[in-house]
Structure formats: C-alpha cells, structure tokens
C-alpha cells in the first residue's frame, strides 16, 4: 500500500478549469491560440503573461511560507528594483543614483538584483538572527521600501528609453512573451534548487518543527536567511519586468498589494500556511487562477471594483475544499461515510 497522497492543488486545478470553461462559454475564441507576426496570441497566453509578476513572487513566497514565515515586503522590493533600473538608465535629476554609469543590460539587471539581495538579507537577518516575527520584520521593509524607492527616484515617476531593457517586459522570444520565458527559467532554477538538492527538505523541516530541526543539526538560521534572499530576488525580477513593461518606475504603484496576491496564490495552491508542507506547482496554479479570475471579470464587463470580492469568494471556496474538517463534514452530510484517516 502506498500512502502518497493526492496533490493538494487538485481543487485549484478544478477551479481553474471551471473558470476557463466559463470563459469559453461566453467567448468562443477563448481557447484559440494564433500565430501572428512571429508570436503567439490568445487569451490563455495573455493570462499567463499578465500573471508573471505574481507567479514570480509566489515562487519565493512559497519557500518563505514553507519555513513558517511570510514576506510582506515583496511589493516594495519590486518598486525598489524598478527604481534602481530606471535611475541607472535615465539618470533623472536629483536621483541618488544619477552619478552611476552602468550602460549594459547585464549591468543594470545585476545592480537591481544586488539591491534585491540586500533587501532579502535585511529581512532574513531580522527574522533568523534577531528573531523578529516574520510578519513584523517584513512589514518594516514593506513600509519603508516605497520610501527608499522614492528617495532613489527623487519622488518622480522616472520614464526611460532602453529598447533592450524594455524587451524584458514587452518583447517576445521564440513566439512567447519574454516575461513568460523569464518566469519559466526562474521556475526551473528554483525547482532544481528545491528538489534537485536537499534545500527544500531542510526548509520544510525548519517550518515543520524548528526546534527538532535545530537539534538534528540543521542550520535553521541560514536556511531562513536564504529563503528571504531568494524571495527578494524573485521580487526584484518581477520589479524589473514591471518597469520594463511600462517603460517607467512608479515608486508608489509598482507592485502595490501584489504581496497579498502572492500569499493568496500560495495559500490557494495548497501550501500549509503553518509551514512544513509546500508545493511550487500548486503556487503556480494558484497564481494563474488569481489572474484568470481578474481577466475574466474585466473581459465580462463587470466593474473592476467587484474583482476583489470575487477573488475572496474563490479563495474561501478553495480553502474550504482543502480543509480536512470541512471535507469530513460534507461527506457526512452527503452520507458518503467516513473519510479514511
């Protein structure tokens, strides 16, 4: 007998399919994907493309939540990294970074991601070494991060021109939008780190029972620092894509509230918020579900103001369906007998 359980995100997939079918019923061309001007066009491609920032955030967030933490600062880190890139390209008046001469694409990306690493170290050291509660520690950077971004840009929206950099947000490579490629590359790299090495297991061990992991010799502190750094780098990449897409760095609005979407995506995907059990694939499906809902509501002509309400309903539904207690009670109501323990 094998007790490997069904993946926890089955219900998420089911809901995602339901949303797709709902769309297809109203707009017959929903599933159509066309090849035009050397790239793919279609609603599905569009949904995934728009989901990329949240997808990237949810990858890092999954690891943080696996260690029983949470990172509220990812939206602010997006803003900071977008601001760094924009300032290095445009050299706006009064910017703190106006004297730095970085011209190459690689240099700009490296500089922005280095800043992301610093942000991640700040969060990670606060949580692991100073033992601040994750929600409080990352709230610090969530609040101050946008201020830092504004300091960098001297409070303006920095508009820039840099065709190579813009291609990160709006270009397409081999027929697919470039953000999707960037996400897939990140997903593979993080997947290799987590499942190709023992990092994922040790992170899950830390989240499941920190004391037990420490007594077994696991260096829980450095694992925690690492997951916050990885999470911040994911946010940095998302911030670069966001800035490249709109050719500007808007410190007030870049990545605003996306930390919440990312946490929702992780929760909906079946990762236990109490740590210990996590699934990257589930988070990916969760993030796509969130974006599919948003797109559906907008294309159906329902006001944007209802988006958040509908999202909330879906999140509650998925969480209920995943809850063993709830499943037990509806099995009883439907007279299906006891679930196997």
């Amino acid at each position: 007998m094998n007790s490997r359980q069904l993946p926890p995100y089955l219900w998420t997939i089911a809901l995602l399919l339901a949303v797709f079918i709902f769309n297809a019923a109203f707009s017959p061309g929903f599933f159509t994907i066309e090849w035009r001007d050397g790239r793919l066009f279609g609603s599905l491609v569009d949904i995934v493309n728009r989901a990329v920032p949240v997808l990237l955030l949810s990858l890092g967030m999954t690891l943080v939540i696996a260690t029983k933490g949470v990172d509220l600062s990812v939206g602010a880190v997006m803003a900071i990294c977008g601001a760094v890139a924009a300032c290095l390209i445009a050299h706006p008046q009064g910017s703190l970074l106006k004297d730095f001469q970085v011209e190459s694409l690689a240099g700009i990306i490296a500089a922005a991601l280095l800043v992301a690493v610093v942000c991640g170290l700040f969060n990670g050291l606060l949580v692991a070494k100073i033992k601040v509660q994750p929600i409080v520690a990352t709230l610090l950077l969530m609040v101050t991060g946008r201020g830092i971004a504004q300091l960098l840009t001297n409070g303006q929206i920095v508009v820039f021109e840099h065709p190579e950099f813009q291609a990160l947000g709006s270009g397409s490579w081999f027929g697919l939008p470039s953000p999707i490629w960037i996400f897939m590359l990140s997903f593979v790299l993080i997947g290799l780190l987590v499942h190709g090495t023992a990092f994922g297991k040790l992170a899950a061990a830390t989240g499941s029972n920190e004391t037990a992991a420490r007594y077994a010799g696991v260096k829980v502190d450095s694992i925690k620092v690492w997951v916050y750094v990885i999470c911040a780098v994911c946010a940095g990449i998302a911030g670069l894509i966001g800035a490249a897409d709109i050719k500007a760095a808007d410190s007030n609005n870049a990545g605003l509230y996306l930390e919440l979407d990312a946490i929702l995506a992780v929760a909906v995907g079946g990762t236990a918020m109490a740590g210990g059990k996590f699934t990257l694939v589930g988070s990916v499906i969760g993030a796509i579900l969130m974006q599919a809902l948003t797109t559906t509501i907008l294309t159906r002509g329902v006001g944007a103001e209802t988006t958040s309400i509908l999202k909330a309903v879906v999140v509650v539904a998925v969480c209920l369906l995943q809850s063993p207690a709830f499943r037990e009670s509806y099995r009883r109501i439907l007279g299906l007998g006891r679930a196997q323990a």
């Binding site: 094998n2 090495t197 023992a198 297991k201 989240g207 037990a212 007594y215 260096k219």
Partner: protein
Amino acid sequence: MILEAIGLRMGFTGVKALDGVNFHLRRGEIHALMGENGAGKSTLIKCLTGVYQPDSGQLLLAGEPYRPSSPQHATELGISTVYQEINLAPNLSVAENICLGREPRGPFGIRWKEVRQRAKAALARLQIELDVNAPLGSISVAHQQLVAIARALDVSCQALILDEPTSSLDRNEVDQLFEVLRRLKSEGMGILFVTHFLDQVYAISDRITVLRNGRLVGEFVTSELPKLDLVSHMIGRSASELEAPLAPRSLSAGSTFMSVEKMSGSRSTQDVSFEVSPGEVVGLAGLLGSGRTETLRMIYGIDPIQSGSIQFGNRRRSKLNLQTAIKEGLGLCPEDRKSEGILPDLSVRENLMLVVQNRRGWWRRLSRKEQQETVSNFINRLQIATPDADRPIQFLSGGNQQKVLLARWLAANPKLLLLDEPTRGIDVGAKFEISNLIESLRQGGMSFLFVSSELEEVFRSSNKVLVLRDRRMVGELTGDEIDQNRIMGMIAGNPE
C-alpha cells in the same frame, strides 16, 4: 471521602495511559501523587478535572458519581486545579486575576470595588498580604503561585489539585506555601499534591498514591513508608531483578572520548564531572527533575555552561554551542519527542534521513534509492510499524515515532549519542530490542549517555552510572558498585 476514582482506564493510540487505577482523596488530608515519566499522573489529574474523558471507570465526588465535561465544569463542582505553569494574566492586577471570568457585575459593568474586596478576602483566607492593585507580573513567582491558589479557592472548593506547585519556588517560599496548605487541610479540604521532590512529600503529605506505567502500585500512609521503599515503588524493579546486565561492568581502560569537569549551569545541574570512553554506556540515574535532562542539554550545547568545562580529545571547551557539539560527534534524542523531535508534516523517510542528509550538506541530496535502503533497514531492525515509509510521521503511534527518532541518529553513526528517555511509551518488546541495539552499537565503539526513568534499564545497559539528586551529581558508580539498592539509596538521599 471527597474524591474517588475506581477502575479508571484511559488509552491513547496504542498506549494505555491509565489501566484500572483507583484513587481516594479524603477530607482534611494532603495526598501526594507520585510516579515517574509516563506513570499516568497527569492523565489521572486530567480525568479528574474534565480535561480528558476516561474510557471506562467511575468517578465519585463526595460519594456521588460525577462526570466533568470540562475543567470549567469541574471547577463549578468544587474541584479546583492549579497548574505547574501559572495560567494567569501577568499584565492584569492581582484582584482582576483572582476574579477573572467571574467578576461581579452591576448595571454599569464590573463592580470593581467588590472585585477588590473579594480578592482581599480570598488572600486573607490564606493569611497573605498583597497589594491587590499591583500587576500580577510585578510580584514574586511564589506570590503568583499563592494568587493562583487564592483564585482556585475563590469559588466554593472542596478538593484542590496542585500540579508541581513548588518546582519554581525556593525553600522559604515552599515553607510559606506549605503553611497555607496545612491551614486549608485543617479546614477540611482535600488536597492532591503532585511533586517530584521526595523531601516535600514527607514534609507535608498524609498519604501517598504511587503509579507506574499507568497502573496503581499502591496507596500508602506516608509515615509508614520508608523513603527507599517509595523510590523502589516508583522506579519498579521486582520483575527484572533476575535479569542479567547486558553491558560488561568493567571495560579495559582505554582512551577517553569526552571528559566533563565540574560543569554547572545557572538553573541547571551543578558540579557534574565524569568521563566517557569510546564504546561505553554511561547511565544517568535520578528521579524526574533531578537534572538528568538539564545535564544532557548542557553537554549538547543547548543550555549554556556557566562554569566548568567539557573536553573532547585535547580540545577543552568552557563554551559549547550545538553545532560544535554535533561536529564533535554528538547526537541527541530529546525527551519531548512531539515538540523537540518529530517533524510532524514530513514522512517517516524524511524524518529518519534528516541527520544523515544534513550532515552530507544540503547540496548533495541523497537519492531515493539510498534513502530507501537505510530506511527499510531500520524499519525492519526496530520493527517500526508503519504502512510505508512515505506516511507523515504524525500519524504513527508515539512508540513508533520514538523509534524513528532513534533511527534518525543511529543512521548517522555519531560517536556519542545522548538518549533522553528513549524507551518512554513504547512496548516491552521494542524496549528490549532497543537495549540490544544499544549494546551491539556499543561493542562497535559508539558511546551513549543514557537517561531512563526505569532504573532497571539503566542498570541493564550501563557500564557506569551517574546518580543525580536535586540537580546535583551525588555519585558515580562503576563495576561492581552498580547495584540497584545502592543506586536507590543514593537517589533517596540515604546515608550509605
């Protein structure tokens, strides 16, 4: 008779926590409940106070059957409990704490004047004077304990249950508490008192009930029960007296792996000195609370060493952290497997391979095949009952979890393994299996520090025995000195 339990049975998955226990608490007596880890003391108290519902058996309150459905219900019936950790709110005042949850109310909310009066009256009954407006957190722990008792007595209370009330008190504070208890006793109250300090039992109790492994050993009149007999009742030895020791008593003098010199910690064991050689099992004997666990925690680098040192090879250390201890080849199977041992969400396989994997480094993942080999080997050797290795460990019974934790370290082959109650809560066959495993690993050169509440296990497996009493090392026995009567005498504090 005020409180009685007859034929009480209570089981958790696979373990009989109480197996037909009888208990009688009379009016106007102080009754001590004694037993080692896993004896069933706290389960019995929890059944009496409605935290657990016993599987079978009868509970009588003043001769009438009763079944408390919750601790609240038990309090209403007149059974008040004061727990070891003070469950009060340190930021509220003494008066608020005493009346918490049952404040007298008027049309304008809580009648604070009456709250203070009631609190004063409750404290006056214990003849203690305290500022009832002071925040609870600002007064001494002993006074907090007395406030907790005053709160318990604020309702009409016939039976008072005190679960290790003295563990955080100093001598004077204990005297003060005992004075209060004697006064309550003279008022006709029945007091059930749990402690692991033998001297206190003899100072205050009238009767003693001893439990062992969920069974009633007996009820005794304190003045008629010599200390040594009490210890032997608690630890139990009759069944295994004939069993020959597994470990040879004298080892040929060899090298020393670790030597501990006059090691003391603040709020921990004092003055511990001993040596461990490769292939030696050192048993730590002593009652619960005598400093066994604390000694292991210091050696493993969890609690700081205040004075003294530990030497590995020629490296002398007066400070030790956990990572260094592990690098020196130490491992620890902690006593509290739920909070310090298992990773509940992870599978048996992942739990078992944790130390091996961690030692290899996170970037060199063990292949599934390598893991499977080790895991199935240990599942067979320790007879771990699990449908398969991928089941989350939280669904295993306690004994099987314990075996997985033991296997976690054995698979990593440490030089010195610290075992804190490795056989607690597991069945007799598996206990024997574990003893044999320890002996065969010992012959292979692994050393052990072995803590067990069951003296016979210490006796059977050890080459050397350290005896602890009241957080102090009181002796080291080697060779033919290892004798159960002698160890028990030392634990009880009898002059030899």
